[in-house]
């Protein structure tokens, strides 16, 4: 459990690339443990954005002038970078979206058009609202049925129940790779394999996974995969939807507008090829380009070492928290990433969160956009700490001290 001086140096090197980590909050050094909500950004990403607006800014895909061509090239190179990193079969399977929520809504709307009344969609009880509400909206439009896989008390998905729900009416299984409120890692390979047996397609919500797990889309063999740029060291307002081209090709367009068309007339409009068919209007050009830079940054890391580091942080914090008798951790499976959700006796999470903040520690409190999990555990919310590659054991020590102080004041 002891940090070697080597890995300590590696973490310090990473920290030095994140300008925000030197901020003071309420007079204390910022301890940022809200990484599951959004990650901080390394200088390379920030500088890319600045540099782009200062030197290269132009609209893309339609200009003959040099700025526009360079911007287009940069945007498409970012797509290529992301496609290679995730090992998609082709760049045209990588669609830029606004974020995870936008991606899931796109699929619900477009893939949803191919569904018939009585078709079934399976989600789990641990989904983020963004992977619940779009299906509910679709249900009310198209009379499809949503089936919910329950979870065990440990927070793990009930695989037996899942298999019982699967049948030939199941057209889509939409499941999170990693739970944002509990940190549980789902056995998605198994879920994908079993779903394919009955002919169901699988959408993986990767909002919490790309930053923690190495993703190989072709090996995973999921049909759709979505995530948000802002959680993987990239900018806000951009995300990715991966879809197998066979599927994307038969799906109707989602939004209409510039770029997604081949020819427009009032009599007949035809649509552009992938990925453009699903990218209507001027995209978040700088967002896409800087997301490419975020992947360059990830690629520059020793990813496995980062994973080891994050796991060490998790185990270290779990041990510290478990030593406080009134603390109850939700999501007790061993198969977790760097998220811990807990409550302290019957103290309201909001009270703890407020006092931690006054001591410089940023955590999240509440339902974390997963109200059904809170209902399941019959709690109003939890305190959630979530770690990133730049966090340290020292920060955990400071957090635990601040937590103890808060508990003392509140008891």
């Amino acid at each position: 459990m002891k940090e070697t001086s080597q890995s300590r140096r590696a973490v310090q090197d990473i920290r030095s690339q994140f300008p925000i980590l030197t901020q003071k909050i309420n007079g204390r050094d910022l301890i940022y443990f809200d990484n599951a909500a959004t990650s901080q950004k390394p200088s390379v990403v920030i500088d890319k954005i600045k540099n782009y607006y200062e030197k290269e800014n132009a609209n893309i895909h339609r200009g003959v002038h040099s700025l526009s061509q360079e911007a287009t090239t940069a945007y498409e190179q970012a797509r290529h970078k992301i496609s290679s990193y995730l090992n998609a079969k082709s760049d045209s399977e990588i669609i830029f979206t606004k974020g995870t929520t936008d991606g899931i809504n796109l699929i619900a709307s477009s893939f949803g058009e191919l569904l018939n009344p009585e078709d079934e969609i399976i989600i789990s009880a641990m989904e983020h609202h963004s992977n619940i509400v779009p299906w509910q909206l679709l249900e009310s439009r198209k009379k499809i049925k949503i089936k919910v896989v329950p979870i065990h008390k440990t927070g793990e998905i009930d695989l037996e129940a899942f298999e019982n729900l699967l049948n030939e009416k199941t057209k889509l299984v939409s499941i999170t790779h990693i739970s944002n409120s509990l940190g549980i890692i789902n056995p998605i390979k198994e879920i994908i394999r079993k779903s394919h047996v009955v002919g169901a397609k699988v959408l993986i919500d990767g909002a919490q996974s790309v930053q923690h797990e190495k993703i190989d889309l072709q090996e995973l063999n999921c049909d759709f995969f979505v995530f948000s740029g802002h959680k993987v060291y990239g900018p806000t307002g951009v995300g990715v939807l991966y879809g197998k081209s066979e599927l994307l090709n038969i799906m109707p367009p989602y939004q209409g507008g510039g770029d997604m068309i081949e020819k427009v007339s009032f009599e007949k409009t035809t649509f552009n090829v992938l990925p453009f068919k699903f990218e209507a209007g001027t995209p978040n050009i700088v967002g896409g380009i800087a997301l490419g830079t975020a992947f360059d940054f990830i690629d520059s890391l020793n990813f496995e070492q980062c994973q080891v580091h994050e796991l060490e942080l998790l185990r270290y914090a779990e041990a510290q928290l478990n030593a406080i008798p009134t603390i109850k951790i939700f999501g007790t499976s061993k198969n977790k990433t760097s998220v811990i959700s807990f409550n302290v006796g019957d103290i309201h999470p909001f009270d703890i969160g407020t006092l931690l903040d006054k001591q410089g520690v940023a955590v999240r409190t509440g339902h974390h956009c997963t109200q059904p999990i809170m209902d399941f555990y019959q709690i109003p919310g939890t305190i959630r700490v979530s770690f990133g590659i730049y966090n340290t054991k020292d920060e955990i020590d400071l957090f635990v001290a601040a937590l103890n102080k808060s508990i003392q004041i509140l008891s």
């Binding site: 309201h348 909001f350 969160g353 407020t354 006054k358 339902h367 102080k405």
Partner: protein, 136 residues
């Protein structure tokens, strides 16, 4: 003490502390002191649902003055409520509707009342004023 004086008194109380934790200890103590609406008396229509914590509010108008009863499931919210009630209770509707509520900001708690905060407090203050206006 009038409306302004009551607020100034609170500001003075808080000015004794310059450490945030001490200010909050005071708020928490205030929150613990008062049992504001007994649980069995809470009604659904009194509930103001915040994203983080919930608030109950009951207003009474008696002899030309307003009296409030409130509660919250979070103790810090409760503490802030008890400050609000301290200031507002026994005042005329007109005062509550028209006069400035400045102490919250002065003691550095404005974040709890920013319209973007989902703890129900903003909504609560709004309702306190609306209920006053009804009797004015």
């Amino acid at each position: 003490m009038n409306y302004t004086e009551k607020q100034n008194a609170i500001i003075e109380d808080f000015s004794l502390f310059d450490d945030w934790m001490e200010k909050y200890e005071l708020i928490i103590d205030l929150g613990k002191e008062i049992e504001m609406i007994p649980n069995q008396d809470k009604r659904d229509e009194q509930l103001i649902e915040g994203c983080q914590s919930r608030v109950w509010l009951k207003s009474n108008y008696k002899d030309g003055k307003m009296f409030y009863f409130a509660d919250s499931d979070a103790i810090i919210t409760k503490g802030i409520i008890s400050l609000l009630i301290k200031v507002m209770n026994g005042e005329e509707p007109k005062t509550i509707a028209k006069e400035d509520l400045f102490f919250i900001k002065e003691i550095g708690l404005q974040e709890h009342l920013s319209p973007t905060r989902a703890n129900g407090l903003v909504e609560m203050v709004k309702r306190m004023k609306l209920d006053a206006i009804k009797n004015y």
